[in-house]
């Protein structure tokens, strides 16, 4: 026996706060996982975290690593529970926040409602002073009006100040000066300047991001600081980390300064887990698919890298323009399609599934809590894909009567019976997900047949075989312990920051030095920032990317700049890599000059990652894990007698084939006829899809 390393992850969700604690023997690599759950405690979220740690009996003094994920930021935004923000903008541009971009996605609807700005006009004020797009001062910043503005803000009860000036991505001196003056005049007020969050052009997107950040700042900062204090009072001696939207973790202090970067921390830990799992099993090209109760999310991982972008919106769909948030977020597609998604028939007899969800209350009809809408879960239950005698891990009795009635009602509107309606629901739900999966793969020029699919979340195993078949994916992995998979991603994360900034220049030999300087300066900034937090430069690993386009274009293609410093002799190779990537995605290349629009540098530092150990595998047919046989309706693949396997009894080396069902307390894996299953040395379920 070696030393035991304890790594814990806590996650604050809308209803529950979860704990996953890994106790790992540093010599054998064997890990023991403990989980606990307690209620989320708004508005004092830290209490729920401390509660769940004591409920899980975690000895904080012995914990070597503690990561924390939270939906607090996204919830504060969507529930409009932030503070009153005052905005200071460049003279002539206070209305940028309200003008937005003028787009109307729901274009035949003449009653479209434009999203309302988070700061009303009377709290949007201006200061004279201009910086050009080249970063040169063209008009002096005049701070004289500032005291009067702040007096008005005080009188109006403003609780946080946002500052966003034009072209601050190119030169932040005006924002810095204004911010310093606000702090001097009003030391208690939280102030957020755009340059400390986003260093890219597009003033509306940057202004809105700054405003939303200020909007959630006081509450998020207070909560993170109370969490820090509560943890140390209970004996925790380490540095707590916070999961970010870029698939990395950051220090609690840094997260408290710019909490908006936590906006998509939940999905990002799951996607990172898929990337890590891929690395572990030797598949670095992965399509990650996370199917939950209300949504499904997917992302593409190429060569072990997740794609990080800054064009992210909240509340955006075909009906609304939403609000942009220009922070580094893992590039994912999310659709309103999960286990609880409601099936409905429109007035013209067309069947739809989602985006509305039955939620936790009343939940799907089969929960027997008064739900009358048929959901995807009800359809899966009706078709025998979910075991009615082992519903929700045996904790709830499936109300087959309610499920049948709800599905029959859908069928009546379609003119078919319940069985046919249930198959229809599953097929439509699958098709919605297939279209989302195509968005992250085929639409970007990637052939899904060259990728391994990693499916997780409560509904991952239920639908992923059918989806993989449809896309031609040949290898599907359902992780060993799907219920703690996201938490595992959190503890496997590195300290990571993404520095993305606008630098417009031609891609030419003459510009090589400028490109190199921009990259090196960013790395220097990163080293200084991390250094100030006790992370020494030699622990940092950098990845460099450039954003390129043909001259006159707007949108860019990001290319990794590998192989050391950018030098004149290397420019042709960069141009060729851009052209090849461009052609893959868009089918053609041009004989036109290429421009660099910006750079993207990632700085990562390991914070002691866990080495997972492979278990001894012995070949067997899985008979030891069989719990029975039942008829299962595989929709298009027909009804078959499927062998039912008990998930917890599966052991490395077991092999069997479909039709089969694997039942876990938290999830069900539906294996179609003809597919081969094997359990790998880590306990993962590997399904070979035979198309």
């Amino acid at each position: 026996m070696g030393q035991t390393v304890i790594r814990a992850a806590t996650d604050v969700g809308g209803t529950f706060t979860d704990l996953v604690c890994f106790e790992i023997d540093s010599e054998t690599g064997q890990s023991h996982v403990r989980t606990a759950k307690s209620s989320t405690t708004p508005p004092d979220y830290e209490q729920g975290v401390l509660d769940v740690l004591s409920r899980g009996d975690v000895d904080l003094a012995a914990v070597g690593f503690l990561a924390h994920g939270t939906t607090v930021v996204i919830n504060a935004l969507t529930e409009r529970k932030g503070v009153k923000v005052g905005l200071i903008a460049t003279e002539g541009f206070r209305d940028t926040l309200e003008i937005a971009r003028g787009n109307r996605p729901d274009f035949f609807n003449l009653h479209y409602v434009k999203p309302k700005p988070f700061v009303p006009r009377y709290l949007r004020r201006e200061l004279p002073g201009r910086i050009s797009y080249l970063g040169q001062e063209t008009a002096r910043l005049d701070l004289d009006p500032l005291p009067g503005i702040l007096d008005d803000f005080r009188a109006d009860g403003v609780e946080a100040v946002a500052i966003c000036f034009l072209h601050s991505y190119a030169n932040s001196s005006h924002e810095e000066a204004a911010e310093a003056e606000v702090r001097r005049l009003w030391p208690e007020i939280p102030v957020v300047s755009s340059h400390s969050i986003a260093r890219e052009w597009r003033e509306y997107e940057r202004t809105n991001t700054t405003v939303l950040s200020a909007y959630v700042q006081p509450a998020a900062e207070r909560y993170l600081h109370r969490l820090r204090d509560g943890l140390s009072a209970r004996g925790f001696r380490g540095q707590p980390y916070v999961m970010q939207s870029n698939c990395g973790i950051d220090s609690l202090e840094s997260a408290a300064r710019v909490p908006i970067t936590m906006i998509e921390s939940g999905p990002s830990s799951g996607i990172w887990a898929a990337a890590e799992l891929g690395r572990l099993i030797g598949d670095t090209n992965v399509i990650a698919l996370d199917i939950g109760g209300t949504t499904a999310k997917c992302a593409l991982i190429e060569n072990g890298n997740v794609r990080i972008v800054t064009d992210y919106w909240i509340e955006r769909d075909r009906k609304s323009a939403g609000y942009p948030v220009m922070v580094p977020v893992v590039d994912l597609v999310e659709i309103g399609n999960g286990g609880g998604s409601i099936a409905w028939v429109d007035e013209f007899g067309k069947l739809h599934v989602g985006p509305h969800s039955a939620g936790a209350v009343p939940g799907p009809a089969s929960y027997g809590k008064g739900g009358t809408d048929a959901t995807t879960t009800d359809a899966n239950l009706w078709l025998g894909r979910i075991n009615k005698d082992y519903f929700c891990g045996g904790e709830t009795e499936a109300d087959m009567g309610a499920a049948g009635k709800a599905i029959a009602e859908v069928g009546a509107k379609l003119g078919v019976g319940a069985d046919e309606a249930a198959r229809g629901i599953v097929r439509i739900a699958n098709n919605n997900m297939v279209n989302a999966l195509k968005l992250v793969s085929l639409n970007r020029g990637f052939d899904p047949r060259e990728f391994t699919m990693v499916a997780f979340g409560g509904g991952g195993g239920m639908h992923s075989v059918a989806l993989a078949q449809e896309l031609g994916v040949s290898k599907l992995v359902i992780p060993a312990d799907a219920s703690v998979f996201s938490a595992w991603g959190m503890i496997m994360s590195d300290l990571r920051r993404d520095y993305i900034s606008t630098h417009l220049m031609e891609l030419s030999e003459a510009a090589a030095a400028d490109i190199e300087n921009a990259l090196a300066a960013t790395e220097k900034t990163a080293k200084a920032q991390f250094g100030a937090e006790g992370v020494s430069p030699e622990r940092l690993a950098f990845q460099r990317f450039g954003k390129f386009r043909y001259q006159n274009q707007e949108h860019t293609t990001e290319i990794e700049l590998e192989g050391g410093p950018v030098v004149p002799a290397g420019i042709d190779a960069i141009r060729e890599r851009f052209q090849a990537a461009y052609e893959r995605e868009y089918t053609y290349r041009l004989n036109a000059p290429v421009e660099m629009v910006g750079i993207h540098v990632t700085a990562t530092a390991e914070v002691g990652r866990v080495q997972m150990k492979r278990r001894e595998a012995t070949r067997s047919d899985g008979a030891a894990a069989v719990k029975g046989v039942r008829a299962v309706d595989y929709a298009l693949d027909g009804v078959h007698e499927a062998t039912i396997y008990e998930g917890p009894r599966l052991a490395p080396g077991m092999e069997f084939s479909g039709p089969a069902i694997i039942e876990d307390p938290g999830s069900t894996v539906v294996v179609h006829p003809g597919n081969a299953v094997r359990i790998d040395g880590y306990g993962n379920i590997i399904i070979e899809i035979r198309n």
Partner: protein, 552 residues
Amino acid sequence: MEQTRNDPITLEIIQNSLQAAADEMFAAMRKTAMSSIIYEVLDMGTGILDPKGEIASSGAGIPAFIGVLDKSVKVIIEKFSQPGDVQPGDVFATNDPYYGGVTHLNDIVVMMPVYAGDRLIAWTANIAHHSDVGGMAPGSLTGEAVSIIQEGLRLPAVKIIEQGEPIAPVMDVIRVNSRMPDVLEGDLWAAIASVRIGARRLTALAEKYGTATFAAAIESFMEFGERASLAALAQLPQGLFELTEEQDNGQFYNVKIGISKDRFTVDLRDNPDQLAGPLNASRDGVMVAAQMIFKSLTDPYTPANGGSFRPIELLTREGSVFHAKEPAPLGFYYELELRVYDVMWRCLAKHMPDRLAAGHFASVCGTFIGGIHPDTGRQYTVIEPQLGGWGAAPGADGNTAMFCGFHGETYNCPAEINEARNGLAVDRMELNTAPGGEGKFMGGRGIVMDYRVRSESGFLTAGYTRSKFPAWGVAGGHDGSPNYIEFIPREGERQSFAGVSGLATGKDDVIRVFTGSGGGFGDPRERERSKVEQDLRDGLISGATAREVFGL
């Protein structure tokens, strides 16, 4: 999985996949285009059509382009009707309204036949505004044109790619006719990529489900569109409605709309003769305007397809402004289409206020600014529609700063990008607080925007409407405020106008754009007091207006 399967779920899945393919075509075009009018303003549209050229599915973009593509494809089908005329890998183009181009010469429609094996199963197509297609003026649009010949290169429904190989002479001709050949070429290739990507998806879809099922899905989708339209049409008040409205240019436009259970008839025969200048529209273009108002009235929430528009009947008189004859110029067709759209809207609004709000600023406010970028020395051309105010409806204030009804998923150009790309200074972009649009519910606000020119020898062209007669109020709501431009030269007199062609601009001249508020709804004195106080506090109305108009 190769058997034919015509169950409703399979058909639905194919229909969803068609929508996804049209969206993907749109995204590809957007990301690769070189003109800001395409990639930012998204003055473009994508669609999938059946083998006969009927719209099966349309992508995002602007609603005014959805009803264009079918008309273009039908002209190609008619012109290339002999065996071998249309082959796998071919790509066709038209931009001429007299040859299926519908709009004006700047808009090039690119079309590709889609095959499964050797069987034609569909067409993919897109349309986009190109920055310069030649002609007498930079940007190809000018109020001075008296013939379409002066408005640029005409592509009268021609093949540009044969079985995958670009037809070099045609491509060369297109390129050499533009003042911005690189940009035109880049944008054209973006369009070609878009139709190819769509075609690839459709072929895969037809191969998976079988061509018969694929065709059945499209057919049933169109039937669904028609059923949806007819069901909603039956809910509208029936009868004959008529309106005559005076225009900024002194003309009177007349519309008669007949609504019955299964027919929506628009009669535009009683209208002025076509003009010598470019404020004319093709019959196809006017049909698009009728389709748009019809779709918004009947079924705004489901995607449009050929079936959706079947109940429409359009009557026009050849030789009138709404049915121009060759060689009438059509450059500013969009303002005219928007006028007829707005007149139809107004004609019906008072009879169905729950469906139609008060008038909006209702002009594209197309603003064309060109010159030399002072920092790069390169030629630039700004082609920008402007944001303005929308009308109030019972229960809701109008939206502020949105593109007009002809645009949809369209984005304005950020000042930061405008300054970098075009070398103009944008000194302000703010809400226009001019009086107008007062009501129990307020019209939304337009904008004021200053472009300051930074180099000599530039030009300005614009053609705004609703300048003399602003957006109309309803039920006692006040009319909105006007759309116009104020030109403030560094030296000399300020001038104000709604239209100008090729005005010379120099360093530090300011082009100030004003767009109007939408019309108000209801008596301003009935507006909730707390809302009047909030408007006052937000500086959207003056103290005098609060007292005198709202009675605060």
